[in-house]
Symmetry: C2
Subunit: 347 residues, 2 copies
Amino acid sequence: MNVGLICPVWFPVPPEAYGGTERVVALLAEGLVDAGHEVTLFASGDSRTRARLESVFQTAPSEWIGHTYWEMQHLVHAIRRADEFDVLHDHTGLLGLAFGGLVEAPFCHTVHGPLVAGPGRMYDDVTSLAPNAKLISISLNQRKPKPDLPWIANCPNALDLSVYPFRRKSGGEYLLFLGRMSPDKGAHRALAVALETGLPLKIAAKCREPLEIRYFDEFIRPHLGESIEYVGEVGHADKVELLMGARALINPIDWEEPFGLVVIEAMACGTPVIATRRGALPEIMEHGRTGVFVDNYREMEETEVLELADQLDPAELRREIEQRFSPEIMVSNYVAAYEATIAATGA
Amino acid sequence: MNVGLICPVWFPVPPEAYGGTERVVALLAEGLVDAGHEVTLFASGDSRTRARLESVFQTAPSEWIGHTYWEMQHLVHAIRRADEFDVLHDHTGLLGLAFGGLVEAPFCHTVHGPLVAGPGRMYDDVTSLAPNAKLISISLNQRKPKPDLPWIANCPNALDLSVYPFRRKSGGEYLLFLGRMSPDKGAHRALAVALETGLPLKIAAKCREPLEIRYFDEFIRPHLGESIEYVGEVGHADKVELLMGARALINPIDWEEPFGLVVIEAMACGTPVIATRRGALPEIMEHGRTGVFVDNYREMEETEVLELADQLDPAELRREIEQRFSPEIMVSNYVAAYEATIAATGA
């Protein structure tokens, strides 16, 4: 199949540090190439890929994130060439979806963000203006606020298992929080659990935007000390190291997160995850077998909860990821989605 | 006729101070209402108009200027209702043009900016994706870099003559520069002319963005004194006062400005304009009768040039504006453009 993949233009592919969507697109591009497909990746020129790279910008215009004029140049470059591909697959946002409405060629769009409130209403409006575009969810839970959008497939994210070694370090006593500094993600809740249980906590999180810095200064920084450590925004190697040594990943999210990459990253390393039962997480973990759920994050402080996490079999966590969240599975899900898109567009 | 007008969303209509496009849209909306048309104006909720106002935002989201997510909400609101109007007329930018491609109803778009370099290429690309959209220029010179775009009409801007009184103040000895702090507009060139001739100069200019402030600090501020005065960004009343008292407006632009509102503002007040022969200005002024042209701005220092400006008849300048740049003429140009758009869309 001849596929055109449109990545968000704001960061190179794969991303240096934080950047879940870009990481998934990178993996999909490589996986499609491995599966013998012809792949053109529209991304910034500082990206690295075995697909054919097509760029308007030599380096990712990160400082202009969210600005129409920059994203539009990137999108127009791809959309104008829609006829060259069997299918054009967009990973940007609402602007990409709108541009998809300007072509008659097969076009699908993965929704990487949540569909609540304003963005949900905008998806209603833009799909009504671009009725040929087909949508792909990354979890079934993500669709809940908008079940009637033109969904064509559900394609959960995946991991490159070769860079997540399954090698538990023994004696890891610390809890780990991994994400970004935002109330949604809940570093302050992980902190409360650590303070209450007396267990050490390491916090690795993106903290760049003004709101992230304000949240950090107000809720996290005052509690840092010997037992509670902020290790900054970590690259891949440090992240894996932290995961391998952690007693458990604490994931006390308080929003309908559409996927939860950090959870499958931890499981791939054999690290148990203790999480609130929110968003797509019940589609990823099974309580008592491949993860531990609580209804309220304060339950994470209870001895039985941590003991249940200790009892999970790291090998089973790893196996679960290999069987359900491998690149091969994501690629075959997407190829099926492309076929469905092409069939629906012909109809 | 039932017209939907889409204004840029970043500033209220009419604008408080700087904002040429918003001022023209306000005038067009009022003029269409006066001519008996049914007009719906899509603009921020803090706008004032006798058209029916439709707003997504209660106040203009100026701090988000250029951000897709904000402009898209505004545009989708209007575009979804395209079928309710005989014609939808967009004044935003490339994003509005792209959305015009998503509807089959009659849609036209006034290009308010220049079509050189990047924006010119983007207009090529977006019109090729939105072939139903019809374009309106504000001068013939504006079309020069892109003569083959789907032009349907040329509609020069206009002035509300009732708020530009024709009442020359005698004895005005100062030169006036009016615009924004940008090398294109050429406050530093007006300054050089004033310094060389020894004539006093008043500079009224928008100076808000970092680049504007840097330019001001570097090229203008060091020369301010008794004779060279910076009076800030002025509101309408102060602007008219400055125009009425000036010996001449110095307009030493160094770019292909697509129109030149400040020139017709000056002429409406009977104030002669000395300008470089660039952009659309030759479509507005006639050398020796309604204005003075120079090929190089340094010629503005020559005694004959200023004397030629002194000899122009203020009443003739005023009459020229009344006859060629009145709201009535702009409205009738636009109504003809709407009829042409509707006819071309039916075809």
